[in-house]
């Protein structure tokens, strides 16, 4: 994992305030306080569905991922710290920490734990077990997994979730679990 020192350097180098807001390298960002954003996502899911929110997250994640690949050409390669670097980008964006427990792109299998996502945490604080906001981020991560983690066709499914009092959200791909 990237150390705090490396992370600091990385962030200081690329995060800049410009006239149209915060930018990360050349990526123009909108930033939202986590609780407000959790309420926003919950309203969308309540009006439509969790599946809808997942698709919205996937669409946003797909375009974000394309921008990252345009801006950070190094991510296209297969260098040793690729996963850590992508993880770092996701962390800086406030999407939490992804800890891969299984990562097997050859056999299209993966399982990861997500922690410290402030929006998911606020969703659970606000809506308890009725929180639906993690679906959005599951969509975001599925898109990043397809484009950046080389997990072709990846659509993550939820196997554990903080809204059910699990210590993390667990998302997987290509694995079967007994119910």
């Amino acid at each position: 994992m990237a150390t705090g020192f490396v992370r600091n350097l990385f962030i200081k180098r690329y995060l800049v305030i410009k006239e149209d807001g915060l930018t990360f390298r050349d990526m123009k960002l909108n930033i939202y306080p986590s609780q407000s954003f959790a309420k926003f996502l919950q309203k969308i899911a309540e009006k439509k569905s969790e599946e809808y929110l997942y698709k919205l997250g996937f669409e946003a994640g797909y375009d974000s991922s394309k921008i990252e690949l345009e801006n950070f050409g190094i991510l296209k390669g297969n260098f040793p710290f690729k996963i850590e670097t992508i993880n770092l980008l996701l962390q800086v964006n406030g999407f939490g920490i992804l800890d891969f427990k299984i990562y097997d792109p050859k056999n299209k299998k993966a399982l990861g734990h997500i922690t410290k996502n402030p929006v998911i945490e606020d969703g659970v604080k606000l809506f308890k077990s009725k929180s639906k906001v993690c679906s959005f981020f599951r969509g975001v991560y599925s898109a990043h997994a397809q484009l950046e983690f080389n997990l072709e066709g990846c659509q993550l499914t939820e196997t554990r979730c903080v809204r059910n009092k699990d210590p993390y959200c667990e998302w997987s791909y290509g694995l079967k679990f007994e119910k």
């Binding site: 962030i11 939202y32 309420k39 926003f40 009006k47």
Partner: protein, 172 residues
């Protein structure tokens, strides 16, 4: 760093708590959403939410953002003599555009604002041209923000005009 004022400096120094792997403004964690995907999200939402629903969704977001941030700005009052100006600077840093001038006729409750540097609207115009729905979304967002920041009873900005460099939002 191109912007150079007290709040921005404080913001930059305090905002990024790398130890906890999250973007923070004092005690408030933030999530970032690149502007281009946000433009795409708004357009997708506009296919499934009618104009009124999209407006209300954005208005609640604006109102919630003010509630969440202003308590923190309040705590910093002694460093930030002009609370309203500070809030608007924060919104600009958040990527919601630079709210340049606000015209309020209190008697008739007529409000007109001029905004520049909103990257989501810029992308939306590039991607969708005249079919862009970002104007409707920001009518809602700015209505939610201004209702709270300027203590307006009910504000529903429902008209917008985009020119090359400036966006105009009003309720008349």
């Amino acid at each position: 760093m191109e912007s150079n004022n007290t709040l921005n400096e404080m913001f930059l120094k305090q905002m990024f708590d790398v130890g906890e792997s999250r973007v923070k403004f004092y005690d408030i964690p933030f999530v970032s959403y690149p502007a281009r995907p946000m433009a795409i999200t708004i357009q997708t939402l506009s296919k499934d939410f009618n104009d009124k629903e999209l407006f209300e969704l954005a208005k609640s977001l604006g109102s919630d953002i003010v509630n969440e941030i202003s308590s923190q700005v309040e705590k910093l009052r002694k460093f930030l003599p002009d609370r309203l100006k500070s809030l608007f600077e924060l919104f600009q840093i958040c990527g919601f555009g630079k709210i340049g001038s606000i015209q309020i006729e209190e008697k008739s409750n007529r409000v007109k604002i001029f905004v520049t540097n909103n990257p989501v609207i810029d992308y939306s115009k590039q991607l969708y041209g005249e079919n862009s729905k970002a104007g409707n979304f920001y009518c809602g967002l700015y209505s939610g923000i201004l209702e709270k920041t300027n203590n307006l009873k009910i504000l529903n900005l429902n008209k917008f005009k985009f020119t090359e460099k400036e966006y105009e939002f009003s309720n008349f």
